[in-house]
Amino acid sequence: MSVIDILSAIALLGGALMSLAAAVGLLRFPDLMSRMHAATKPQVLGLFLMLVAVGLQMRQWALLPALLVAWLFQLLTVPVSAHMVGRAGYRSKHRRPELLSTDDLHSVVEAVVDGGAVIDGGGGAAKAAPTSAPTMNPDH
């Protein structure tokens, strides 16, 4: 095995281990949010290592932008879907207060619900609107 082969072997095994990390996290963590962390994030490093291995084996400059774009797509999409799932999880019954040492958001949500304002967040931006409906429904 050449040096390049050894490097790509390390990258491939590391990438596979990151998938395993996600699976172990999914099985071991107690609540949705922790599983979320374990599941989506190690894949960023995992895919990076896998693409490094592909690049090392192919050694073509024309391929480099394609690999970079494949990774950048993941960088752009992972946080958004993680935020959407995490937010839906927090707002539905998945909040497990006994697993949180601090919850700065809870008091804010309570105040907003009592005050009768709506936090709207199509895509993460929140704005307080002086409307009458005391709900946390994101779709207004």
Partner: protein, 91 residues
Amino acid sequence: MSGMEWVGAAVAVILTLAAAGTIYRIAVGPSLLDRVIAADVLLAIFGAALATEMALRRNTDNLALLVVLSVIGFIGSTAVARFVSHRKEDA
């Protein structure tokens, strides 16, 4: 078996274990969102398998598929998350 073939076998074993774990999580749930996350991970494991195949056999046939996979995973989990926040009582 040559060195790279051993690496391929090891990666296959690790990915199979990981896929088994995620499928178990999809099966037991307990909630829809847990299953969505697990399905997302399963998709990422497929992507890892595709990339490994490309590296070991030295082709780039599946690179576009890899990009499409990550976009499909994104659309899927985002759509379900929206759906869940619509009807949160039975999420």
